[in-house]
Amino acid sequence: MLRQFGTNEFLFIFTAARWTVLLSLIAFVGGAVGGLIVALSRVSDVKPVSLAAGGFIQVFQGTPLLMQLFLVFFGATTLGLDINPWIAAAVALTLNASAFLGEIWRGCIQAVPKGQWEAAGALGLHYPATMRYIILPQAFKIALPPTVGFLVQLIKATSLAAIIGFTEVTRAGQIINNATFRPFLVFGIVAAIYFILCWPLSHLSMRLERRFAAATTR
């Protein structure tokens, strides 16, 4: 009962890549919003707020992403919500990205020289204005390389959605491999698709980092 590996099989895998891209984008946008909140909470002077953000980061960085996926997926079922793998993956990846981006951006906010804060205070700017006009624009520049680097991690992380049954590119590969049993060919194609998505971003991140390093060394 083996099928031949032909054009249809290839197209099935190739078109499933759009779900990988879409899931990555959703998690990235959601994670950016969440990450900004987490980062700002982390550098806040209000102790409980920064502690809560710290706990959030610790939990998401100290447990496997696969478990986070399972907890969202089965947790929703437990609450009586009928959740599909697509939503579960989007929610879990968004939460995970919020924690990681929050931690990355906290470092970037703290990398802005202290004198900038003091100067803003001396000019009589309040916290929101200081953040918006002085700190965040400078932090953004520092944050660009590691953020692009994290996007690579996120694209790779979407593959775990295959385990809860969402048909993105890895799951499509599994399905075709079960039908054709050509593992090297099938998973070679799957790996190549990820590589084509990730490699340019990896290099962009490295290039940005070098340019940034060159700009800051005196």
């Binding site: 496997p64 089965f74 590589f195």
Partner: protein
């Protein structure tokens, strides 16, 4: 319909859970050690090996770093039998983990090697120390100090990533959780307990690692 949590069946299987956690730790430790061997060889090739080999190592690192671990596992677990090599899920998991962590550790080791200034070695030799003494007293410790934090966090990352080997039904903690889940239908409870176990393991390891760091790299030097 309200749901009542049932932690009883999960807690009854504590022996299996502990066995799974132990295998996760064993897998991660062995993979890290073997991966370090791979990394040291690759770092040497990258810094001073022959050109064609250097290119091979570059490709290996780029491919591993830009593809998901899950796909790497499938490639090995389903691919090797097709090539006539039979591997148990645990062996395939270990092999995939070694290949994966080896690529990441290579970059760390290389940075460690490059952090040593040539002048340090020259000064040691000028003082009349033998090359081995120079390595032991001058090069080794600062190099270790440079790579230690990155390598230990890489180990914890590897331990958390190893959860993915449950996709090929190894005997690690996550696979045990899957088995309990399918027998007792207490999915959320099982995964909650197991998630907390992973959290406890990563906190414990990072506490041990930072204690070792404080003792081993305390300055001024004590020999």
């Amino acid at each position: 319909m309200t749901y009542t949590f049932r932690f009883g069946p999960v807690l009854e299987a504590y022996r299996d859970l502990l066995a799974g956690a132990w295998l996760t730790i064993q897998l991660s430790t062995s993979a890290m050690l073997l991966g370090l061997v791979v990394a040291i060889i690759c770092a040497w090739v990258k810094t001073s090996g022959p050109k064609p080999l250097r290119w091979v190592v570059e490709c290996y690192i780029e491919i591993i770093r830009n593809t998901p671990f899950l796909v790497q596992i499938f490639f090995i677990f389903f691919g090797l039998p097709a090539a006539g090599v039979r591997l148990s899920p645990n062996a395939a998991a270990l092999l995939a983990m070694v290949i994966n962590v080896g690529a990441y550790a290579t970059e760390i080791i290389r940075a460690g090697i490059e952090s040593i200034h040539k002048g340090q070695v020259e000064a040691g030799l000028a003082l009349g120390l033998k090359p081995l003494q120079v390595f032991r007293y001058i090069v080794l410790k600062p190099a270790l100090k440079t790579v230690y934090p990155a390598l230990t966090s890489q180990f914890i990352l590897l331990m958390l990533t190893s959860s993915v080997v449950s996709a090929i039904s190894a005997d690690d903690l996550t696979s045990v959780a899957n088995n309990i889940q399918s027998l007792t239908f207490t999915s959320f409870e099982v995964y909650l307990v197991v998630t907390l176990m992973y959290l406890a393991m990563s906190l414990a390891f990072s506490a041990v690692f930072s204690t070792i760091y404080r003792v081993a790299f305390a300055y001024p030097d004590r020999h």
